[in-house]
């Protein structure tokens, strides 16, 4: 491997890395916001809204991010809605992630056994308190592994942003390979930067999964 080439490419990769991380985590924050709102709507069966959320979840869970981005970035401007590339990336990732998060968080809320609600009612809890002190803590803990898995999935999905000409890690690698043919060096740096981005999150995920195994109640031992 040519260390000179590595050194000269490094700054480009660092810049692309920060762009990828920024878009990735902003998109994840957006997807969590959508997911929390969506899960509440579905859990409380809000009349019209829950139908809309259901349709949205189905639509975005069953289409690839690349196709969604193409539609948002190249298609929507023709209908008069032009969005800059970076916002497109965040929006696409947020919408895709939002559908996954909604599904995970909703199943967490619904998975708390009815006997928990009934016991709390018998103890004289109000509806609001049952939700705050009985349902929510259990639901949050039981969905943590799924949420972590979604975050890892979304961070990996950031690799398609190069398709809408965002200068992310993939774009940089492809560009440099095309320009200088230092394929080995470029791919090596690409792998290293993705490892820096994902390995800590993956390790945190495994740690969380181990921790919450003690947080499961009832007869699931």
């Amino acid at each position: 491997m040519d260390t000179g080439a590595l050194n000269s490419y490094l700054p480009l990769y660092v810049r692309a890395f920060f762009l990828t991380v920024r878009i990735g985590w902003t998109g994840i924050a957006l997807s969590l916001a959508i997911g929390i709102a969506g899960a509440f709507v579905l859990h409380f069966k809000v009349p019209v809204l829950s139908k809309v959320i259901k349709a949205y979840v189905e639509l975005f869970r069953n289409t690839p991010l690349l196709v969604q981005l193409f539609f948002i970035y190249f298609g929507l401007p023709k209908a008069g809605i032009a969005i800059p590339a970076e916002t497109c990336g965040i929006l696409g990732l947020g919408l895709l992630g939002g559908s996954y998060m909604t599904e995970s968080l909703r199943s967490g809320l619904d998975a708390v056994p009815v006997s928990q609600t009934e016991s709390a009612l018998a103890l004289g809890f109000t509806k609001r308190r049952i939700f705050m002190y009985v349902i929510l803590p259990q639901a949050v803990i039981s969905t943590m592994p799924a949420v972590m898995a979604n975050i890892i999935f979304l961070l990996k999905e950031t690799s398609v942003f190069s398709a809408i000409s965002l200068m992310d890690l993939m774009f940089t690698a492809k560009d440099l390979i095309g320009l200088y043919y230092d394929t080995t060096e470029c791919l090596f740096l690409l792998v290293v930067f993705y490892m820096i981005m994902l390995l800590p999150v993956s390790m945190l995920g495994s740690f969380v999964e181990k921790k919450v195994r003690f947080g499961i109640y009832g007869d699931q031992v």
Partner: protein, 228 residues
């Protein structure tokens, strides 16, 4: 044609055989995903069963394999195999072969993890009870463990198929002419006559993927409910 249809660029789809071209593009992508799905399921089943054996060497290797697949985006793997293999080993892989290798490598890991998860979720008491009833090891596997494992595994495995179909859209990035690429070609060719084609074409591609994946998702959910 009505002005509304033209203004959102759906009209291109009715020109010539454009719709057929889009569909054949989708088929090109689906072919790659189906070959990878079949290979992944077979390899994943074997690997998953191997992983439940308590052999340290297998544990270490499978751990590294699963972790690699877990943190490396499929796009990166595609680039490594498609561009890297040519450079490092002088192999001149076609884009199709490279993508089948990558999706099988990735799918097998996912499948193996599902198989392992389903196998270890069967309580030890099931094995013990079977032995107490005088069943042999093979009988225990055939009549007690496998039926329960399959019921847990099936919805998850089918869900993996939809994920693999969705991921195949990435192959356009290494130059395979699939549905998105065909879409781009159609838009380019009709740039003058229908400038708004991008909206109609990409909306159609979006819907095509949805039509391909949604029934499989529904089947997976139905089986999951039935197994519970």
């Amino acid at each position: 044609m009505s002005p509304v249809i033209e203004s959102i660029g759906i009209d291109v789809l009715f020109k010539g055989n454009n719709m057929m071209r889009l569909l054949s593009g989708l088929m090109a992508a689906l072919k790659i995903s189906m070959i990878s799905v079949v290979l992944s399921i077979v390899i994943g089943l074997v690997l998953g069963m191997l992983m439940t054996l308590n052999k340290p060497a297998i544990k270490v290797v499978s751990r590294i394999y699963l972790e690699t697949v877990r943190i490396m985006p499929q796009m990166v793997l595609l680039f490594i195999v498609y561009f890297g293999a040519t450079k490092a080993m002088g192999l001149n892989l076609s884009a199709e072969t490279a993508s089948i290798i990558v999706f099988t490598f990735w799918g097998s890991a996912e499948m193996a993890d599902l198989v392992r998860g389903a196998l270890i979720s069967i309580p030890v008491i099931q094995y013990e009870s079977s032995y107490a009833l005088g069943m042999t090891g093979l009988q225990t596997y055939l009549y007690v463990i496998i039926p329960q494992t399959v019921r847990r595994l099936l919805p998850l495995a089918i869900n993996l198929i939809t994920r693999m179909i969705k991921t195949t859209s990435l192959v356009m990035m290494i130059g395979i002419v699939e549905v998105l690429k065909v879409g781009q070609q159609i838009i380019e060719a009709n740039r003058k006559s229908s400038p708004n084609a991008a909206f109609g074409v990409f909306a159609t591609v979006f819907l095509l993927y949805f039509i391909a994946c949604w029934p499989i998702s529904l089947l997976s959910r139905y089986l999951e409910k039935k197994a519970a």
